[in-house]
Symmetry: C2
């Protein structure tokens, strides 16, 4: 049988409630009994039953993590382990555990979340993505359950805790940078349009083009999933156009990897023939050939800040929704070059 608070109480010659107070380090217990009780705990190898505690407490000391529904290999993107590492770091500081959903489809994940929430498994939830009209976000919002979004909520933006980069600005800067190198035919390879991050970055790109009085061409914007194949596909589409872009903005390093591979295959040189710049600055960016210029978005910090924000929301339920912006920074490597005028 497992050792309970009662066993400790018996051994220490005190009441169970006293033991409970010692665990909570209540100030109204004498040092002497504290020592006595702690010795008994030590001796018996006592550990509190967290379920019993949760039940009495109505608090679980656990956070739920919701990943996007994983169609295919999206989750192999190192983005996710890295955010989770950030969340983990903060959670550890405050002695919170982490809970993962196991569903694959959107519907399954939704059920997982409901179970987590209504089943009292977690005190709060981190959403690792922000999609347009997301059922799960909507549910949490309606339920007024503590949660934080990594990314920017599409609706009720000001009423929902969220942590994000300034993606509009980041995309604008990236585009400006390419323009400053002399590029005018700039392609934009984005994620799927249901993700808010896609919408934001696209907006930054468009704005920069407009400000520079460059034409916005519909056929230069391509929406794809965050996997390598997407990069390949995008390159193929560009090849079918009359004019291939001279520079490409890719919204994820993993996709960019596919782009580089496809270009290499076609004998299109980077950066001589086409410049490429992407987002996230994953570790691989340093190891592609040529090394990939990429926007550092501080993934770890996104996770850390999200957890931080969520914990505050849990401790102070009435707090106003926070919007935290994590810094970004262009990391320039070898994949971009001034436009070569060779006509």
């Amino acid at each position: 049988m497992r050792v309970t608070i009662k066993d400790v109480a018996k051994l220490a010659n005190v009441a169970p409630s006293t033991v409970s107070r010692v665990i909570a380090d209540s100030p109204r217990i004498s040092e002497r009994t504290k020592v006595k009780v702690r010795e008994a705990m030590e001796q018996l190898g006592y550990h509190p039953n967290l379920n019993a505690r949760s039940l009495a407490n109505k608090s679980t000391q656990a956070l739920g993590i919701v990943m996007p529904s994983a169609t295919g290999k999206v989750l192999q993107n190192p983005f996710f382990p890295e955010v989770i590492r950030g969340i983990s770091a903060k959670a550890y500081e405050e002695e919170y555990a982490l809970y993962l959903t196991t569903g694959q489809t959107e519907e399954e994940i939704f059920e997982d979340v409901v179970k987590m929430v209504q089943g009292n498994r977690v005190d709060g939830i981190v959403l690792l993505y922000s999609r347009v009209d997301d059922q799960i976000m909507h549910y949490l919002y309606e339920k007024q359950f503590p949660f934080v979004v990594i990314g920017k909520p599409y609706k009720y933006t000001d009423d929902i805790h969220h942590v994000d980069n300034d993606n509009v600005k980041a995309a604008l800067e990236v585009t400006d940078y390419l323009i400053s190198l002399g590029h005018e035919r700039i392609g934009f390879i984005a994620g799927t349009l249901d993700l808010v991050v896609t919408i934001d970055r696209l907006q930054g790109y468009e704005r920069a083009m407009r400000l520079a009085n460059l034409p916005y061409r519909n056929e230069y914007t391509i929406f794809q999933e965050f996997v390598q194949e997407s990069g390949k596909n995008a390159v193929k589409k560009y090849l079918s156009l009359k004019e291939f872009p001279t520079a490409l903005i890719v919204t994820d390093d993993i996709m960019a990897l596919g782009v580089l591979a496809a270009l290499h295959e076609m004998g299109i040189r980077v950066p001589q023939d086409v410049s490429v710049i992407s987002f996230n600055n994953l570790m691989i960016a340093d190891y592609t050939q040529p090394a990939l210029s990429s926007v550092e978005v501080n993934i770890f910090d996104l996770g850390y800040e999200a957890a931080n924000c969520l914990l505050q929301a849990i401790h102070h339920p009435q707090i106003a929704a926070k919007q935290i912006t994590v810094n970004h920074e262009m990391i320039l490597r070898q994949s971009c070059a001034p436009l070569q005028k060779n006509d």
Copy 2:
């Protein structure tokens, strides 16, 4: 206030215990009351409190996942999300949730595990690595707590559930393959020596060399962490030798990425000057230049089988320790070539 089993009972005009039986779909409850109770549950939006259930049940319907202590960027290796996806898939089938440790150092993680176990948070644990003399494994073993190791336990191998590839054989095959291409100076870039997987693969390599009557050179084996920098370092070390190897076996794709980058930088061509083959067949293997030959180890299956094994161990505590071997397969791409005799 949350809606409990009592509220449902009241609305349905039955006793709480009856509601409980309906939830468990007990066969000794009339269809009529079942329907009645279910309607009440529906109407009130009832969801069971999982903590209360766990308390009464002594079962949590949750599995714990223990990752290796993350010094630096090791966890950015897509290996981890992929195993977890496998575990997730099986866990979902049996309606188990997943718990993550949040500690960073080995000591912290150990505490996490103790808390998980003694705190009754999980019914079993998956260890995502196998290290020599691992404190956590030792603890679980002593405690007789249900757990499964992904990898091969160093001690008590036959007494511990584990899921692994046949790494000795895999490394032997890889080495044989290179030998068959005419290579004799074959370098081996391994993980750290405290990991059992390193020991096994090294053994396969050595055996193949011996069987082929090729000399085993100490300076050709390099131990490193599973990150890209390691690949770079390894190449540097080889360069300091009198004879650079003509082929390299790398025990992880991420390290191989670093190797390829370093070789490229040095102007050493792959596969003309040196052949490279590695392990894990991550998605990136397809997108390096040249595309990387790699051993598919079926990471997803490792996770899936581990969860499967663990769940059986949980349901049948007295079952004998299982050892499951997951298939591997060499995937040949462009990074290996016959030895060029150019002297």
